[in-house]
C-alpha cells in the first residue's frame, strides 16, 4: 500500500538469443511502435466498441440478413443463367450495410461523445494535453474503423451481386463512394451534435433531434442509392449528375470540416485559441466556394444564373454559419490577449467574430454581384436577381448586428450569452418577416408593399428579386437597395463600437 510510485524506467529486456525469438521480438517491437503512433482514442474506442452488445447484435443481424438475401438470390437465379437481378440484390445488401453505416455508427459516435461529456471524462482527456481536435479525430476514426468492419462483412455479398448481372461496376463504385462520403459526414455531424447542449433538457432535445435527423438521413441516403442503382450507367453520362455528385462531395467535405472544427472549438478550454479552427474553416469555405463559382461561371459561358445561384444559396448558408460565429463571448482569456493583434480576426472574442463575418458576407455579396455584372448578355429581367444577390448578405449583416447588439444593450449579461444571441437572431428575423406584412394589411396596403417590407429579410428579398412586368423593370429601385446597404453598414458600425467597448471592459476587469 505504501510503496512509492516508481517513476524510473526499467532497463530494456535482454535480447533473445534464438533467431525465432529475435524475429518475434522484432515483430512485437514493430507492433508496439505503430501502436504508439496511433491516436490513443482509436485504440481505446475500438477496444471498447468491440465489447459492446450493440456492435455484436448489429453485426450479427446484418450478417444474417445478408446471408438470407444471398440464399434467396441463389435460389432465384440458379434456374436461368442469363437473369439480370444484380440491381435489386445489390440494393438489398446495401440496405443492410446502410442501416449500420448511416444510423448505428453515427448514433454510436454521438452517444460516445455525449457520454464523455455527461460523465465529465471529457475534462480528463483535455487535461492530458491531447487537445480537442486530436480527441475528436480519434473518435471519428475509431467509429470509421468499426464501420470498416461492417463493410468487410458485407463486401463479399456486394461483390456477389455484381456476378448476378444487371449492375455495372462503375455504378457500384459510385454508390459505395458516395455512401462512404455520407458515412464520414454523418459521423462527424453526430460527434458535433454531442457538443451542442450542456443542460439536461438541452441534451434530451438534441438526442431526439439526432435520432430524427439520422432517420431522415438514412431514408434520404437509401432513396438516393436506389435511384442511382436504378439509373445505372445512364446517370454517369449525364453532365448534371456529375455536377450534382461534385457539389454533394464538396458540400460534405467543407461542411464536414466546418462541423468538426466547430465541435472542437466548443470542447476547447477557454484559455485556448478555440475560434481559430472554425473561423479559418469558414474563410477557406468561402474562398473555395468563390473559386468554384468562378470556375463554373466561366465554363458555363459566363452564365448569370451560376452567379445568382451561388450568390443566393451561399449567402444564406453563410448567414446561418455567421449566427454561430458572432455569438462568441466578450473578450479573451489573458493567455490569448498577449498574442492577439487588432487584425487577428481568427482569435476568440465576439468583436473579432463579428468583424470576420461582416467581412466575409460583404466579400461574398460583392464578388457574386461583380460576377453578375460581368456575365455575358444578362437579360434585363435578371437585374432584380442581381440586386437580391447583394441584398442577401446585406440583410445578413443587418440582422446579425441587431442580434449581437440587442443582447448586449441590456445590462443583464444573460442576454449576451451565445445561446441568447442565436435565439435573438432567429427571433428578430422571424418578427421582421412576419410583422411588416401584417402591419401592411392592417393599414390597407398590400402585404408585400415594397416600402413597408424594406427591412423584411424574407419579403424584402423576394421584392428585390422580383421583376415587375407591368412596369417593365425591377419591382424595387436600386436606390432602395443602397439605402438598405447604408443602414446595414451603420448598424454594423454601431455594433462594432459597442463590442469594442465591452471587450475593453471585460479585459479591464
Amino acid at each position: 500500500m505504501s510503496v512509492p510510485v516508481d517513476t524510473a524506467v526499467s532497463p530494456p529486456a535482454p535480447e533473445p538469443t534464438a533467431s525465432g525469438g529475435r524475429s518475434a521480438a522484432a515483430a512485437g517491437a514493430w507492433t508496439e511502435r505503430w501502436g504508439d503512433r496511433l491516436n490513443p482514442l482509436v485504440v481505446k474506442e475500438v477496444r471498447q466498441g468491440l465489447r459492446t452488445r450493440v456492435f455484436w447484435v448489429c453485426f450479427g443481424l446484418m450478417l444474417l440478413a445478408c446471408l438470407m438475401v444471398a440464399l434467396i438470390a441463389y435460389v432465384d437465379t440458379r434456374e436461368s443463367a442469363n437473369a439480370r437481378h444484380g440491381q435489386g440484390y445489390f440494393f438489398a445488401f446495401f440496405v443492410c450495410l446502410g442501416l449500420a453505416h448511416f444510423f448505428v455508427i453515427p448514433y454510436s459516435a454521438y452517444r460516445s461523445l455525449a457520454r464523455e461529456r455527461e460523465d465529465e471524462t471529457w475534462v480528463l482527456l483535455v487535461l492530458t494535453g491531447l487537445g480537442p481536435r486530436r480527441i475528436l479525430r480519434g473518435k471519428v476514426a475509431s467509429f470509421l474503423v468499426q464501420a470498416s468492419l461492417y463493410a468487410s462483412a458485407v463486401g463479399p455479398f456486394l461483390l456477389f451481386s455484381y456476378f448476378l448481372n444487371g449492375i455495372a461496376l462503375p455504378t457500384i463504385l459510385v454508390v459505395l463512394g458516395l455512401g462512404g462520403a455520407w458515412l464520414v459526414f454523418v459521423t462527424v455531424a453526430g460527434v458535433c451534435a454531442a457538443t451542442l447542449a450542456d443542460g439536461r433538457l438541452g441534451r434530451a432535445f438534441v438526442h431526439f433531434a439526432v435520432l430524427a435527423m439520422l432517420g431522415l438521413g438514412l431514408l434520404q441516403a437509401l432513396g438516393a442509392s436506389y435511384a442511382m442503382t436504378e439509373l445505372g450507367d445512364r446517370m454517369l453520362r449525364e453532365s448534371e449528375f456529375l455536377y450534382l455528385v461534385g457539389a454533394a462531395l464538396v458540400l460534405m467535405l467543407l461542411d464536414g470540416w466546418l462541423l468538426f472544427e466547430a465541435a472542437a472549438s466548443r470542447l476547447a478550454l477557454p484559455t485556448e485559441d478555440y475560434t481559430r479552427g472554425p473561423r479559418r474553416a469558414v474563410g477557406v469555405q468561402v474562398a473555395i466556394a468563390m473559386l468554384l463559382g468562378l470556375a463554373v461561371w466561366w465554363f458555363e459561358g459566363r452564365s448569370h444564373s451560376v452567379a445568382e445561384l451561388f450568390g443566393l444559396l451561399g449567402g444564406a448558408h453563410l448567414i446561418v454559419v455567421g449566427m454561430f460565429v458572432v455569438s462568441d463571448v466578450d473578450g479573451q482569456a489573458r493567455a490569448q490577449r498577449a498574442v492577439s493583434q487588432p487584425w487577428s480576426l481568427l482569435r476568440p472574442g465576439a468583436l473579432r467574430g463579428f468583424r470576420w463575418m461582416a467581412l466575409l458576407l460583404t466579400a461574398w455579396g460583392l464578388f457574386f454581384w461583380g460576377l453578375e455584372c460581368l456575365s455575358a448578355n444578362p437579360p434585363l429581367r435578371h437585374l432584380p436577381l442581381r440586386m437580391a444577390t447583394l441584398a442577401m448578405p446585406t440583410y445578413g449583416v443587418l440582422f446579425l448586428s441587431l442580434a449581437v447588439g440587442l443582447g448586449r444593450r441590456v445590462r443583464q449579461d444573460r442576454l449576451a450569452t451565445p445561446v441568447a444571441v442565436r435565439v435573438s437572431f432567429v427571433a428578430s428575423v422571424a418578427l421582421a418577416s412576419a410583422l411588416p406584412p401584417l402591419a401592411a394589411v392592417l393599414t390597407g396596403f398590400d402585404g408585400d408593399d415594397p416600402i413597408i417590407n424594406l427591412f423584411n429579410p424574407l419579403v424584402g428579398l423576394v421584392n428585390f428579386s422580383s421583376y415587375d412586368y407591368s412596369a417593365g423593370g425591377p419591382k424595387m429601385a436600386l436606390e432602395l437597395l443602397y439605402f438598405v446597404v447604408g443602414v446595414a453598414l451603420l448598424a454594423a458600425f454601431a455594433t462594432d463600437r459597442m463590442l469594442a467597448e465591452r471587450e475593453r471592459r471585460a479585459h479591464a476587469s
Binding site: 500500500m1 505504501s2 510503496v3 512509492p4 510510485v5 516508481d6 517513476t7 524510473a8 524506467v9 526499467s10 530494456p12 529486456a13 508496439e32 511502435r33 504508439d36 490513443p40 485504440v43 481505446k44 477496444r47 471498447q48 465489447r51 459492446t52 460523465d119 465529465e120 471524462t121 475534462v123 480528463l124 482527456l125 483535455v126 487535461l127 492530458t128 494535453g129 491531447l130 478550454l269 477557454p270 484559455t271 482569456a333 489573458r334 493567455a335 498577449a338 443583464q412 449579461d413 444573460r414 476587469s509
Partner: protein, 328 residues
C-alpha cells in the same frame, strides 16, 4: 519558495461572485484540506487550479508558471480528480490506465512500466484484467487516483475524494495520500468529511460564499477560534448504572444546572451531556478548571460518578464557528 501560490483569486459568473479574493500558498509535500459548505466555491477554485476555468482576476503560480498566462506549461504538473471518478464502461483497469498513459504521451516500455508502477502503488495489480464497471466504488476511486498519478504530477487536486466510500476505503485512501505527500507531492483535497480532513491534512482552508475565512494548521485554527470567541466545551458524565435510579439521574441533572457556566444538560442513554459557556479568550487550563469544579460538586453531593470526560474541540467545531452556512 512555495510550490503553489494563489493570489487574490476571483471568479464572477455574471452578477454572482463564486470565488472572492482567495489567497493561499502550499509547500511541496503538504496536504491542504479545502472545507466549505455546498456552493462555497471549492469546486470552482479547484477547477481554476486545474486550468479548466479562467479566473476573472488574480494570479496562480505553480512552480513559477502562471496558470492564467501559460496554462500549457503548468498543466503537466497537475493531477486532477473530479468528484465524479470518470471511468469508462467496457474497459479493464489496465486498459483504462494504459489509455491515459498513451494520452499523456508515454510510449513503449516506459508506458508499461509506469502503468504497472501505478497499479502496484494503488493496489490494483490483482484487478488489472477486471472491467472497471465490475469494481466497487472504493476500487473505482483508486483507479481514478491511479489515473491522476500516471504523468507524475507535482500537485494533486482531489475534489471530494472520500465521498461515498466505506470506512475501510477511506482509511486506505488516507494512507495513499499520506504516502504521496511523503514523496513530495502537494495535495489539495476538497471535502465535506471534516474528521477525515483533520486526520490527513497538514493545513486547512475554510471557504464560504467564495471567501477564504480561515487558513492554517488544524491546531492553529482551533486555537484561533478559541481565542476570539465564546468557548462552549461539552462534558460527558456517567453514573454507575447499578447505583443510579431515575431519582439519582434527576438529582444530578438539577445539581449540574445549578452550577455557574452550565447552560445545558441533556440525558443521552446512560450519560449526561453537559454544555458549558466560557468567556472569550478562555484557555484550555481554565476550561479544565471549570470542569474540575463540576466534578467536585457531583462527587461532593454523593452521586455515583463512574466516568467524567470532556470532548476535545475538533475541526468540525472550528468549521461551525467560522462558517454561517451561507451560499454564494
Amino acid at each position: 519558495m512555495s510550490l503553489l501560490e494563489v493570489k487574490g483569486l476571483r471568479r464572477d459568473y455574471g452578477a454572482l461572485r463564486a470565488v472572492d479574493d482567495v489567497s493561499f500558498s502550499l509547500e511541496a509535500g503538504s496536504i491542504l484540506g479545502f472545507i466549505g459548505p455546498n456552493g462555497a466555491g471549492k469546486s470552482t477554485t479547484l477547477r481554476i487550479l486545474a486550468t479548466l476555468d479562467v479566473p476573472t482576476s488574480g494570479e496562480v503560480l505553480l512552480d513559477g508558471h502562471s496558470l492564467v498566462d501559460t496554462p500549457d506549461r503548468a498543466r503537466p504538473l497537475i493531477g486532477y480528480m473530479p468528484d465524479r471518478y470518470g471511468t469508462y464502461d467496457d474497459v479493464t483497469v489496465f486498459e483504462f490506465l494504459d489509455f491515459f498513459a498513451r494520452a499523456y504521451g508515454l510510449k513503449g516500455a516506459a508506458r508499461r512500466q509506469r502503468v504497472e508502477s501505478v497499479m502496484g502503488f494503488t493496489g490494483l495489480t490483482p484487478l488489472a484484467s477486471r472491467l472497471t464497471t465490475a469494481l466497487s466504488k472504493g476500487m473505482r476511486q483508486r483507479v481514478a487516483l491511479g489515473r491522476t498519478l500516471l504523468h507524475d504530477p507535482r500537485l494533486l487536486l482531489l475534489d471530494e475524494p472520500a465521498d461515498g466510500l466505506d470506512p475501510r476505503a477511506r482509511i486506505e485512501l488516507r494512507e495513499l495520500l499520506r504516502a504521496l505527500a511523503d514523496q513530495g507531492k502537494a495535495v489539495i483535497i476538497s471535502s465535506h468529511i471534516l474528521t477525515e480532513l483533520a486526520e490527513i491534512c497538514d493545513t486547512c482552508a475554510i471557504i464560504e460564499q467564495g471567501r477564504l475565512l480561515a487558513t492554517g494548521k488544524v491546531e492553529d485554527l482551533l486555537q484561533q477560534q478559541e481565542a476570539g470567541a465564546v468557548v462552549t466545551p461539552e462534558l460527558t458524565v456517567r453514573l454507575a448504572p447499578g447505583e443510579a435510579g431515575e431519582a439519582v439521574w434527576a438529582r444530578a441533572e438539577r445539581l449540574l444546572l445549578e452550577q455557574p457556566r452550565v447552560t445545558q444538560v441533556a440525558r443521552e442513554g446512560e450519560s449526561l451531556r453537559v454544555r458549558l459557556e466560557l468567556e472569550a479568550g478562555t484557555g484550555p487550563a481554565q476550561a479544565d478548571a471549570a470542569a474540575a469544579v463540576l466534578l467536585a460538586a457531583l462527587v461532593g453531593a454523593g452521586l455515583p460518578v463512574c466516568a467524567f470526560s470532556a470532548r476535545e474541540r475538533n475541526l468540525e467545531d472550528a468549521f461551525m464557528t467560522v462558517t454561517k452556512g451561507r451560499v454564494a
